[in-house]
């Protein structure tokens, strides 16, 4: 299975999730399916080898999901009291699985200051000009030269995410809609 097929399958899932989010009656289910769309988008970014963008997408999606769930739960109240024991047991199992996997992953970490990944060595050698004394970017700050020269495409994506977020705030809270609400 090539990457293209996986990505087209994920895009199909995203379209499906978006359609479900629009069509479904329950508001909370709609929000959850929007969250699923965001997670699949993050996976797609990961497959397209833009890990920084995937992390930003995931974090922003979680934040948006929390805000949206907080906004919807106050309206249609879900009663948790009937299955209190079930919720507690599921939470305990989840925490236990998380802790066990955390401990097993921490054992695999390399010691501090000895990274196994050598991804950064190319950028440090060429960007700062350590090897042949000619800096590839001309920038003294290596972090800046990575995010705005080598990996500028990722930065464009991050700036687009922020731009669209502000656009969404302005669209939802514009004055025209508020006037109409008052007239009703």
């Amino acid at each position: 299975m090539t990457v293209e097929t996986i990505i087209s399958f994920l895009i199909f899932l995203m379209i499906l999730g978006a359609v479900v989010a629009v069509e479904i009656k329950d508001l909370l289910s709609s929000v959850v399916s929007i969250g699923a769309v965001g997670v699949i988008l993050s996976l797609t970014f990961l497959l397209l080898q833009a890990p920084d963008l995937a992390i930003v997408q995931l974090v922003v999606e979680i934040l948006a999901l929390i805000i949206l769930i907080r906004a919807t739960v106050t309206r249609d109240s879900v009663n948790y009291s009937q299955r209190e024991i079930f919720v507690k047991v599921v939470t305990m199992i989840g925490v236990l699985v998380f802790l066990i996997s955390l401990v097993s992953v921490i054992k695999l970490l390399p010691p501090f200051g000895e990274p196994k990944l050598k991804v950064a060595s190319y950028y440090i050698n060429e960007g700062l000009g350590i090897k042949n004394n000619i800096s590839e970017t001309g920038a003294a700050n290596i972090v800046s030269s990575i995010i705005l020269d080598y990996r500028a495409y990722d930065t464009l994506g991050e700036a687009t995410v922020l731009f669209c977020a502000v656009l969404g705030v302005l669209a939802v809270m514009r004055k025209v809609g508020r006037k109409n609400e008052r007239e009703k």
Binding site: S144, T155, V169
Partner: protein, 148 residues
Amino acid sequence: MKEKNNNSGMTLIVKTITRLTVGIIMLYGLYITFHGHLTPGGGFAGGVILALSFIHLILVFGKDFVIKKFSEKIACVFESIGAVLFLTIAVSGFLAGYFFINIYGKGIPFNLFSAGIILPCNLSIMLIVGFGLFCAFLTLLLFISSKE
């Protein structure tokens, strides 16, 4: 006490101190942005500092004072200019080959005008982040105050 504005916002002491310091905060944000390729920082941090200086003004002098001089529509225009500038820099790389290539002169390292596209990129990110966050904060504030 004579003006109407003195009733909104915080006390006279805070207003006086803010009047002295807010320009320095804005200048610091610009410094962080323009030295992004030399010292730690860059467009994102500088933009957040710039947005915080505007939010500082809103908190101290009240929102009407700020909106009179710098409404959310002007902030929107500045943010859009930043986004268009960033895309223009990216597309201008096609003149030399591919997307986002560093076409301008590299210059001498540790000079202010060096490192090609990094300085204008930092500037455009500062515009997007700074005026975007300011715009979002102002819009939320207007939304809350219109409900009351």
